[in-house]
Structures are given as structure tokens and as C-alpha cells.
């Protein structure tokens, strides 16, 4: 016997919501999913009327669903936002070139303007070229740091007021777990914030409208809406340690579906002892981007790549920043330490 939708009690249920366990019909699910995101946006006051909002679009399910839902809500509730798509081309053959094709189709489908910024034009390096030099061990560090800044630079070119990214509830919960496992109290403190405000120059406020949306529901939404997205994992595999945290989170969700929300709630309510050292944010003296050091991570990584010393940005070499800034030569010993990369 078909199960009835527990919300409208008229239509047939086609799915069980992973978040609540309720059986719903398609349209009631769409409504619930979109309304929850609307509630998130309203109660956290993510946007103001008249703002230009850049959606970080990768072609993957999260950002595709984000773009779709924001467009729907902007019309339904008359947010008065100017939405546009912003993509980063990392230069990864067989992954990003294909996913960018998806973004280009999204541009047509959603009728939103698209801008693509590439690592190659910003940094002079594609990820493929970086991997050739650094190997597969730390490549994600480079990619993550560069992407963060690339989005900001693209957004600045377009005079965007805010950037929103497709981070979902699973991502946020996983990051909480990661930061606990790494004892990174500063990030633990920040990682559940739904939006970051920029105090300094060089960074544009960011927000995560999908912060409370379960990954499983994003997949269901995209599936039932027949959204066009690209579902291949990055060819340069992510680090194993994060993989442990991800598996653990999935297992927790299987035991108790509310675990994802519970972890986010925990993260939001943690308070850090006074006197625990938190990094002070300043700006990079080379490029002006926010940084807690004299040089931002991106500039250090880039310097390392250009000098053929890829280890410069991996690990702690703050002492060397002054030398780099004043363009002094490194000693042979220093060079040796930074050259060797374990593959």
C-alpha cells in the first residue's frame, strides 16, 4: 500500500526526509527544503536588499542546488538581490574542465551571469602543473588556499557585496569534528559561523545558506528537480585524515540522523577559555589579503612554487617570511629543507 504524504495527506509520499524521517510527496519536500533555507537566510540576516551576491559555483551538487534555490527564493520572497555565478578554474584536466561545462549550462538554465577566474591567470600555475611539482601529498593545501583567494579576487572584480558558498550541514559538522581531532581551537571557534564579516580589506563577506541542509537532502532535491550537476570527485584525492572524519560522520548519522545538527549545535555553543591564544588577523604585506602573518599563505605558497621550494608553505616557516619579503637569498641548508617533497 502506498504511503501518504504526512504533510499534505493528499499525495503519495515518494521519499523519507533524511533529516526528520517524515514521509513526503515531492512538492511538500521541495517546499520544506526551500523554506528551511529561507528561514536560515532570514533569521541570520544574510542579505540586504539591493546587494550583489556572488554564488561560488563549482558545477557540483551543492553549488548547483544553492544557485537554484537562491534564484527561487529571491523571486518568491522578493529579496531584491542581484545574483551572479562565480567559478574558479583550478586547471585540473578531466575534472574542472568538465565541471565548468556544467556551470556554463547552469548559466543558461538559471539565466544568471557567469564569471570564471583561473589559477593560471591569477597565479601563473594550474593545479596540474602544481601537482607535477609538489606531488599528491600536499596538493590540496595549495588548491584550498588558492581557491579561497581566487573567489575573493573574482568577486572584487565584479563589485560583489557578498559571496555565498555551497557548504552544507555535513561539511560544517565534519569541519567541527576535524578541528576537534586536530585540536585547532581557533578554527573550532569560527567554523560554525554562518557568515564571516570582513574587517580588513581584501576579503569579501561570505556566507553558507545551506549550513543546515543535509547532504542527503541536497542530493534528493537535485535528483527530483532534475538539476544538471557534475558528480565526479576531484581527481586529486583529498587527505586521508579528513576521510576518517567524513566516514565517522556518516556512521554517526546512520546511528542517529540528528547527529549532524547536534554537532553543529555543539560547535555553535562552545566557548573558548579566555587567555587561550587566538591568532590576530592582519593583512599580507605583499598582496593585501587578510593574513595572521606578514605574508599570506597564498603568497608564501606561490613564492615556494616559483622558487622551486614547494615546502615553503607547508609547515611552519614564519621565520623565513622576512627573508622572502626583503628578497634575501636563503642559505643552502634552508633551501635543502624546503626542496625535498615526499611523494
Amino acid at each position: 500500500m502506498p504511503i501518504q504524504c504526512s504533510s499534505c495527506a493528499k499525495k503519495r509520499a515518494v521519499l523519507r526526509r533524511p533529516k526528520t524521517g517524515y514521509s513526503l510527496c515531492k512538492s511538500c519536500f521541495f517546499w520544506a527544503f526551500e523554506e528551511e533555507i529561507h528561514q536560515t537566510i532570514v533569521s541570520a540576516q544574510l542579505f540586504n536588499r539591493g546587494e550583489t551576491v556572488g554564488i561560488g559555483a563549482s558545477g557540483g551538487k551543492d553549488s548547483t542546488v544553492l544557485a537554484h534555490v537562491l534564484k527561487v527564493l529571491n523571486e518568491r520572497y522578493d529579496y531584491g538581490l542581484k545574483l551572479l555565478l562565480l567559478s574558479v578554474d583550478e586547471g585540473i584536466t578531466g575534472y574542472r574542465d568538465d565541471s565548468l561545462e556544467t556551470v556554463k549550462r547552469n548559466q543558461q538554465q538559471y539565466d544568471l551571469p557567469l564569471t570564471i577566474v583561473s589559477y593560471e591567470e591569477l597565479y601563473g600555475w594550474t593545479m596540474d602543473a602544481i601537482v607535477k611539482q609538489v606531488g599528491l601529498k600536499n596538493n590540496c593545501t595549495f588548491c584550498g588556499v588558492f581557491r579561497r583567494q581566487a573567489l575573493d579576487r573574482g568577486a572584487m572584480m565584479l563589485n560583489v557585496d557578498k559571496i555565498c558558498t555551497g557548504h552544507n550541514a555535513d561539511d560544517v559538522a565534519e569541519t567541527v569534528l576535524m578541528n576537534v581531532l586536530r585540536g585547532d581551537i581557533a578554527r573550532l571557534h569560527r567554523c560554525t559561523a554562518i557568515s564571516t564579516t570582513s574587517d580588513g580589506e581584501g576579503a569579501i563577506p561570505r556566507c553558507k545558506p545551506l549550513k543546515y541542509a543535509y547532504e542527503k537532502e541536497i542530493v534528493l532535491y537535485a535528483y527530483f528537480k532534475k538539476l544538471d550537476y557534475f558528480s565526479t570527485e576531484c581527481v586529486y584525492s583529498p587527505n586521508a585524515y579528513r576521510g576518517h572524519a567524513r566516514t565517522f560522520l556518516k556512521d554517526l548519522e546512520a546511528v542517529r540522523p540528528s547527529a549532524i545538527m547536534d554537532i553543529i549545535h555543539s560547535g555553535e555553543n562552545l566557548s573558548v577559555k579566555e587567555g587561550v591564544k587566538m591568532p590576530v588577523q592582519g593583512t599580507c604585506s605583499r598582496c593585501g589579503y587578510i593574513s595572521s602573518q606578514a605574508l599570506c599563505k597564498s603568497c608564501v605558497l606561490l613564492e615556494g612554487l616559483n622558487r622551486g621550494l614547494p615546502k615553503l608553505g607547508i609547515g611552519k616557516h614564519h621565520r623565513l617570511h622576512d627573508k622572502i619579503l626583503t628578497q634575501q637569498a636563503l642559505t643552502q641548508q634552508e633551501e635543502k629543507k624546503l626542496k625535498a617533497m615526499d611523494f
Binding site: K137, C140, G183, Y212, V255, A259, S266, K273
Partner: protein
Amino acid sequence: MCQVDEEYNSPLEHKSLPAVSKKCMKCKEGTAVLIIRVGDAFCRSCFKEYFIHKFRAMLGKNRVIFPGEKVLLAVSGGPASSCMLAQVQEGLSRDAPKKLRFMPGIIYIDEGGVCGQNAEEREKAVVQLESIFRMTGFPYHIVPLEQVFTLPESVLEPVYSREQPGSSYKAAVDQHIRTEVTRGHGEPAVEETQDAVGRLSLQASTYKPEHKLALEGLFSSLKTLTAKQDMLQILRHHLILHTARINGYSKVMIGDSCTRLAIKLLTNISLGRGAALAADTAFSDSRYGDVVMVRPMRDYSSKEIGFYNRLFEVQSVFIPGLDTKTADKASIQRLTESFVVKLQADFPSTVSTVYRTSEKLHTACPPQSSTTEAAAKCLLCLCALDTKAGKLQH
């Protein structure tokens, strides 16, 4: 989406094979019998010294236990709490000035009624534990979990004493020394202990059949093992707290190792107890006001405790718990435990890193302040409420 948009500096310390060193790193003479961490090899006697010192250092550093104070040791029969009992015995037997000077008692909560043990099995466990407890000469309390139904409602309210003992550790020490001098001997603990043993042997560990039924009813109404484990922990604390209060104990020692605390921290995050994390895992927890819970074993790993118990023949008793013989994914608590244990095997710094996180957290419910509204506290765990109903945070 790719999650690497935050940079992480140092690659994690991966397991490396310890170099086999034959000599003790401390005395450089004795043959090493164990390696606690990579590079830390100890001979038997140096390990004992190190282990005992750590216990005293933990108490000394925190200065919350006063001379002459009555302290209740919560012993479950497991390795960590049994080891804690052994450390207290060892500390009290030492010569002054290294001697510990508080007055211990022991409490065991018999949870067999919800852990699937029959009356016979429960009795057997209690007999085993009693023989260990008797040898210590400390008074002890065997309390069946069923007695939770006899507790007064007031156990759910924090009690604040007018005097603040925390304000002057030194005054308390001075006071204690003066009392000892006027009495003319330095062994008050033993004298009172013998009295107490006589008194306590009369206190039978009984429970009423209707309470047994009520307890079974309560636990069968909880649908998941996660909720059962959560409830058991809360009820256990209520019983310990009440026993401490009626017998005049102002401190309770809980034998959580750092391995246990790391698991607890991660479990509590997964259960949404982030706001109560500091209270649940800190060295001292004063949420109840008049009775303070302390965790003196929090610097030892379960591995160290295992070594110590084996080398120095510390007896422990295996008593099945709620999650004994359950699958890894039977509950949030169980899953977290197996996750931490496995990760620790691959990344030996896991437990200590997670554990150190707990030291950087702040208690959300400020302790020892009677000004905090009673209404803002959770009725079950007495931590500050972190729920703003109907409103999303941030």
C-alpha cells in the same frame, strides 16, 4: 564539494615504529619494561615513580582537595577507577610530607538491573568488589541503581554553601595542621575509618521490587542504546551526588582517563552537548555547588593504566555494561569509542590532541554563583540551558 578551503599547517604525526631502546630513559640503568610513547622507555621502578608522581602532581596543581576533607571515590570495578583507588591507597600510606591527607570513602553503583545481569550475577560482582574495598580499610557504599527512585527531588537543585572553600586552600591546610597538633597524633583518618566500616557493613545493598520494575520500565521506554547510555550516566551521577551529600563528602573522584575523556568529549559533541563540554570533561566540575566532582586520572592514557595495573597487580573486576557485546554502531557512545581507539592506533597523538582541546574550553554555566537563575538550568544534568526554542542561532 571539496572541503579543503582552509589551510592546515602541520601534517599530522603519523605512527612511526619506536626505536627499540633497552635502557630506561630516566635512570639509564634499569632495563626498560615498557614504552609509553615513542621514545619514552621506562624500567619498572622508574615507571612506578613516574606514575605515582603524576597523580600527586595532578592534585597538587589543582589544589582543590583539602587536608581532612572527605572524598568519595567512584569505583566501577574497571581498570581506571581501580587504579585511582590504588593511587589513593598509595598516597595515604606514604610518609609525611608527601602523604595525602584527605579522608577517602568508596562508592560503587550497581547497574546490573539495566545491564542485563540477574540477581546472582549482581551479587557475585558485589562480593568481589567488597573484598577489594575491605582490604583498603576505607568505608564504602554499595548502591544499587534502583535506589535512584528513593532520591529526594532536591537532588536536582544545585546547593551553594555560604563559605567558599575554594577561596583559601592555604587556610584549610593551616587549620588542618592545627587540629592535628592539638589532637596530639597524626592518624585521624584511620580512627574514623574503622568506625565507619563498622557502621557501613550494616548498610545492605538492597532495593525494593517495585523500584526494580520502575527502572526496567524507564529503560525499556528509551528506544535507542544512545539514549539509554545517556540516561544511565545521568542517574549514576544523581546517586553518587546524593550519597556524597548525606554522608558529608564534599568531593567526588571519578576515574576518567584521558582516553575516556577524549571519547567523552567527541561523544558529547555528537550528542549536541557542546555547551556543557567543559563541565563534562574538566578536572573539576562544580555544577552541583556543594559537591565537586574531580577527575584525577585525566593525565593517564588507558594504555598506561593497563601497564600499571598489570605490573603492580592492581585488581579490577569486569562487570558488563550497557554496551558490552554490542556492535560498533549500536550507539553514538559506542561508535565514538571504536572510532577514537582505531584512529589512535594509526595516529598516536589523537587522544592527547582531543584531550587538550578540553582544557581550552570554557564552562558555559559559571559555577559557584547562586545568582544564576535556577530556571536557566537543565533539570537532568544541571548545566546551563543552550536552547533558544524556535530561533536559529547565528
